[in-house]
Every structure is written in structure tokens, then in C-alpha cells.
């Protein structure tokens, strides 16, 4: 009986764990804390945080428990990530949730969304310089798009072994938008620039809003066909929303579909960060490059807005450039927050949604391009 008890003890997590598991469990708890106590992207950080706990319970290999074992339940759920199924479904929900009218009213602001994608390509170069292979560098660069589903999608296609660190880095930085972006925005703008008020956007007709997803889809996907899975679902979701007659489908896409997929994606991405796979020097490099990517993307948007102002009669508030990173709607909220700190009556939120949404389109195009070039 004593032998049996000792055998049981040697099979417990306590006996199998090493210090790396505890580091990861601590990270998981920090994620859950940030989500619950600080309200930083709770819908993402809580499932990812709990997933990290799930993934870092040390288990015997071969029992079919770990996410990387072929016959485990977690592995089947994780297939939605590795096969790239979840991200397009999330894009479907985002499309059904998003109102494109501010972007339709001021299409010029879309260029800010394009400028912010500089972060992707500059980080790609940085990752290459640090010695990453091109496929890995492309997957790391996409963190600069600040779009979790896009980052996961591209990594699943190009460097599946990096999904854990890249997904965690992308979502962490998305959650930390309110911390990362404001100092960069303030550093690159003067008070006078931050006080610029935007003209009220024109009203957009329902017909325009219905035609846009069809037109946008055709145009973007003819130009970058590799963006088809993401942009196809994004624009389809938006068409469901805008056409009114398919309201039930739009309702499902923006609630049950996106919620279910977010749970599965968050939990499995979290669980994929098993200490032995995750705690590597490579992951540290990815985190540093990810932060750089995010900073470059923010700065590129702001600087491009300032360049646009050199040619525009009606100046735009350069803070809007920071919303070009596609963390929807957090970066738009940050723009509103920083703008209002200077002038409480300046409402930039609706204007910031234009570059914010075009950033989503831009990062999906960027992912498509990288996939076709290095895939």
C-alpha cells in the first residue's frame, strides 16, 4: 500500500513540476488579474490566463492529456488554431459587430490604417536581422498589426511552432494598448496638435453601407488573394449586419459564434504555452520584437498623420494615427482618452474608429502578402 501511495505521489503535478511551470502559472494568474481587476481586454485575458494554467499542469506524456499529444481533447480543440479555422470565424463576428460608417464618411483616414502597418514590415526586417528564419520573422512581424486573430492565422500558416509566444505577445500588447500607446502619442505630438478638432463626419446612407462590404471584399481580395479567409469573413459578417434582412445570422455571428470561438481560441492558445515549449530565449526575442512592432506601428500612424497635415487644409488630429493599429476598439478609445485629457469637449472616438477599422483591413492584407511571399 505504501508503494502504491509513493507511486501516486510521483505521478502528481507537484512531483513532476519544475520552476518553469510555476513561472508560467504566475504569468497565467497575472493575465487573469489584469483581465478581472484592471479590465484589460478581459474577454481575451481571462480565457488565455486560465488556458496558461491548464497548459502548465505537469502531466505524464503519453496519457493523452497535454495539448501537444495527438489524441488529447485539448489537441482537438487546438486544431482550430493550428488549422487557422478560429481566426476567420472571429473576423466574421468582428464584421457583424463593426459599423464602417465613420470610415465611409472620411475615407482619407484609411491611409492612417495603412501607415500603421509599417510596424509589421519593419519588425519583419528586425526579426530577420536577429537571425530568425523568414517564415518566423513574418509571423513575428504581424504582431505589429496588433490584431490577435490575424497574428494567429499567419503564424499557424508560416510558423506553427511559434503560435504560443506570438499569440500571447499579440494579445498581451493588445491588452496593454492603454499603457503602451499614450507615451508614444504624447512624445510625437505637440499640445496644439492634440487640440485639433475634427469636422463632423457626413451622414452615410444605408445603401452605401450595404455596398461597401461587397466592394471592399472584391477590391482587397483581388489585390491580395491570400487575405481571402480573413477579409472574406470580415466583409461577409458586415454584409449580414448591414443588409438588415439577415439580422438573425448577424446576431448569431456577433454573439454566439464569436463568443464560442473566443473561448476556444483563448483557452487553447493559453494552454499551448507549456513551460518547456514557451520559456525559451526565442520567446523572449519575440516579446521584445512584439513590443517594438507595436511601438513602431503607433509611431508610424502618428507621423503619417502629421505628414498628411502638411498637405491638408482641414488639419486632422495626429492622435488619430495611433488608432491605425488594429486593436479595435481599444486604440480608438486611447485616442479619445489622450485627446480628452487636453480638451474635455473634443470627441475623437468616432473619428478614430475610421483608421482603427482600416487597420484591421490593412493588417489582414499585410498578413496575406507575407503569407504569399514567404509561405
Amino acid at each position: 500500500m505504501g508503494q502504491l501511495f509513493l507511486e501516486f505521489l510521483s505521478n502528481t503535478g507537484f512531483a513532476l513540476a519544475d520552476y518553469r511551470h510555476f513561472i508560467m502559472i504566475l504569468i497565467g494568474i497575472i493575465f487573469i488579474y489584469l483581465g478581472i481587476a484592471k479590465h484589460y481586454e478581459p474577454l481575451l485575458l481571462v480565457p488565455i490566463g486560465f488556458g496558461i494554467l491548464v497548459g502548465n499542469i505537469p502531466v505524464f506524456k503519453g496519457l493523452g492529456l497535454g495539448i501537444y499529444e495527438d489524441n488529447s481533447v485539448l489537441h482537438y480543440l487546438y486544431m482550430g488554431v493550428t488549422s487557422g479555422v478560429y481566426p476567420p470565424l472571429i473576423f466574421l463576428g468582428i464584421g457583424a459587430l463593426t459599423d464602417f460608417s465613420t470610415m465611409l464618411a472620411r475615407p482619407m483616414l484609411m491611409l492612417l490604417g495603412a501607415a500603421a502597418q509599417m510596424g509589421i514590415f519593419l519588425t519583419f526586417l528586425g526579426a530577420l536581422a536577429l537571425g530568425f528564419a523568414p517564415n518566423e520573422a513574418a509571423a513575428i512581424g504581424i504582431i505589429g498589426g496588433a490584431d490577435g486573430p490575424t497574428a494567429i492565422f499567419l503564424t499557424a500558416k508560416l510558423a506553427p511552432h511559434l503560435i504560443g509566444p506570438i499569440a500571447v505577445a499579440a494579445y498581451s500588447y493588445m491588452a496593454l494598448v492603454p499603457v503602451i500607446q499614450p507615451p508614444i502619442m504624447k512624445l510625437l505630438t505637440s499640445r496644439k496638435e492634440r487640440l485639433i478638432r475634427m469636422e463632423e463626419p457626413r451622414e452615410v446612407s444605408k445603401r452605401e453601407k450595404i455596398i461597401f462590404p461587397i466592394l471592399g471584399f472584391l477590391l482587397c481580395c483581388f489585390l491580395a488573394p491570400a487575405a481571402l479567409p480573413l477579409l472574406g469573413m470580415l466583409f461577409f459578417g458586415n454584409l449580414l449586419k448591414e443588409c438588415v434582412v439577415a439580422e438573425r445570422l448577424a446576431q448569431a455571428a456577433r454573439t454566439s459564434v464569436i463568443d464560442t470561438v473566443t473561448i476556444l481560441l483563448g483557452l487553447t492558445v493559453g494552454a499551448s504555452t507549456q513551460a518547456d515549449v514557451f520559456l525559451t530565449p526565442q520567446s523572449v526575442g519575440i516579446f521584445i520584437l512584439g513590443a517594438t512592432a507595436f511601438g513602431i506601428a503607433t509611431a508610424s500612424g502618428v507621423i503619417f498623420a502629421k505628414i498628411m497635415n502638411l498637405f491638408l487644409k482641414a488639419k486632422i488630429n495626429p492622435l488619430l494615427g495611433a488608432a491605425g493599429v488594429s486593436a479595435v476598439p481599444d486604440s480608438a478609445r486611447v485616442v479619445q482618452m489622450v485627446g480628452q485629457a487636453e480638451d474635455p469637449n473634443n470627441f475623437l472616438l468616432m473619428h478614430a474608429m475610421a483608421p482603427n477599422i482600416s487597420g484591421v483591413i490593412g493588417s489582414a492584407i499585410g498578413a496575406g502578402i507575407l503569407w504569399s511571399f514567404v509561405g
Partner: protein, 138 residues
């Protein structure tokens, strides 16, 4: 391999340059197309007017689906039509908060102020008991 050597070896400069150019081209094209979209739609919706103008003919009123109320601009007819469709699906007399709720959920443009316009123009009127009636006849 590290540094500039690795970037050059894997064609990094070209990929980045072409990549960002394609992203800019895509979004610029989309932006230019969107900027023209409402003008094209406006032209299409008022094509009779433009044709008549070009032929120097006297403008005659075109039959409309909805008789505009005095003071209600023609561009609001689309709004009226959409709200009428929703009201038709509600129990009569209908609940104004419910109409607003549905309009918000299906993403109609500025539902609050549009409903206010319909109230001010007396297209929607109160029944005096807390519910509302659609007055405009199609």
C-alpha cells in the same frame, strides 16, 4: 546568419518594400472608391433629374414610393422606409423604445436622431397612452 546579411539573403528589403506598397495601394484604392461611392449612388438615385437637366426639359415630379411630408427632405425617404418596415412588424400601436432598440440592433444610421425627426415631423405620433402610431400612409 544575422543582421543585414540575413535580411539581404532572404530578400527582406524587397518583401518589406513591396509589402507596404501593396497595403498602401489597397487601402488607397479602397479609400478612393469609397470617396466616389456616395456620389455615384447620388447620381444613380437622381438619374432622371440629371437626364432631364441635360435635355433642358422642365422638371416634372417623379412618382415616389412615399409621399414626402412637408419639410421632410427627399434623402430621408430611405430612412422612413426602413423604419416603416420595422414598425409593420411590431404590435400596433407600437412601443417607441422597442423601435429604437431594433433600429440600434440592426445598425440603422443614427437611430436616435432619426426617430426624433420622425416624431418632430409627426410621422410617428403618440396615442396619448404611452404607445405610438405611424401616421404616414404609403
Amino acid at each position: 546568419m544575422y543582421g543585414l546579411e540575413n535580411i539581404s539573403a532572404h530578400n527582406g528589403w524587397a518583401i518589406s518594400l513591396v509589402g507596404i506598397t501593396i497595403v498602401f495601394t489597397g487601402l488607397t484604392l479602397l479609400s478612393l472608391t469609397i470617396a466616389q461611392l456616395h456620389k455615384i449612388l447620388d447620381l444613380w438615385e437622381n438619374k432622371d433629374k440629371y437626364i432631364n437637366n441635360r435635355n433642358h426639359k422642365t422638371l416634372t415630379s417623379t412618382p415616389a414610393d412615399v409621399a414626402p411630408q412637408p419639410g421632410m427632405p427627399a434623402e430621408n425617404l430611405e430612412d422612413i422606409h426602413q423604419y416603416k418596415l420595422i414598425v409593420d412588424r411590431l404590435e400596433q400601436p407600437f412601443s417607441l423604445p422597442k423601435l429604437l432598440d431594433i433600429a440600434v440592433k440592426i445598425g440603422l444610421e443614427r437611430p436616435h436622431s432619426t426617430i426624433n425627426k420622425l416624431l418632430v415631423k409627426k410621422i410617428i405620433v403618440s396615442d396619448g397612452k404611452g404607445y405610438f402610431i405611424w401616421k404616414l400612409q404609403f
